[in-house]
Symmetry: C2
């Protein structure tokens, strides 16, 4: 039964991805506690380090799902903690660019790098083909999550 075998694989992947995502949430929480921050703050720092250019408050709001007001408070916290700095945008004077303060963020990335060693060891056990398969799947899953999220937002209430 190729069909039932495939169905079992789907089932298993569904279950494992749930556990995987749940573990990520817990890990993120633990990391935030460890650094004396909130999960949202860590998420924001992760986004800022992933992007080469500084982000505006509005972009942070969109990428985290917060309102602009809450994003302002988020940047307030990070600024007060010394992680980021506000820089006015010369092109558009309404906008504020949020830039990382490298020496302060280093404390965070140091923890990431520590953990990164274990991740490297895990990845070393994969072939290059496997790495590409996983990466491609995550990209597809990301795109799908994104469209489904927008779909949910556009039709907010089932009541």
């Amino acid at each position: 039964m190729a069909e039932s075998h495939r169905a079992r694989l789907y089932e298993e992947l569904s279950r494992e991805s749930r556990r995987y995502l749940a573990a990520y949430v817990l890990f993120n929480q633990a990391l935030a506690d460890h650094l004396g921050l909130h999960p949202t703050d860590v998420q924001c720092l992760s986004l800022l380090t992933a992007e080469p250019d500084p982000l505006t408050v509005k972009q942070i709001a969109d990428m985290t799902g917060l309102t602009t007001g809450s994003a302002t408070r988020l940047v307030d916290r990070l600024e007060r903690g010394g992680y980021v700095a506000r820089t006015p945008d010369r092109q558009d004077r309404r906008r504020v660019l949020v830039t990382l303060v490298p020496e302060h963020v280093a404390r965070v990335t140091a923890v990431w790098d520590d953990l990164g060693v274990a991740w490297h060891a895990l990845l070393d056990d994969h072939t290059e083909d496997e790495l590409e398969v996983i990466t491609r799947h995550m990209r597809q899953a990301h795109d799908l999550s994104h469209t489904q999220m927008q779909h949910l937002r556009s039709r907010p209430k089932p009541d």
Copy 2:
């Protein structure tokens, strides 16, 4: 340069997994808003539906990273919403078993199933070998996240 090629694959996977996880957080938030719940509540329902047996409040607290007090409030909310029911445990009268109310949870799983169709379509594009690779990686990543989380918790403060 096989080394630099592999390094580039690591870089790419790191970047994609970040975006993947960020998208999941946003999706979970949107789903919670859609259902008029909180992300934690959705997470809890997801855990409860994943497990065949009912969970105790303590188990829910551990699996969500909440304190027992907050877990009690969480179960309060779900019970008030009609999603779960409290059942005393005969074996250990300190414990309270949290059981799902199927007909009410169906509203939630209906949304999941709707979205599941798109996920099925995504998975149909994979070979069985690829599915196994992804599943295995997620299991390994889950285990690693779990041990790293415990490691972070055991050594809470870097200050």
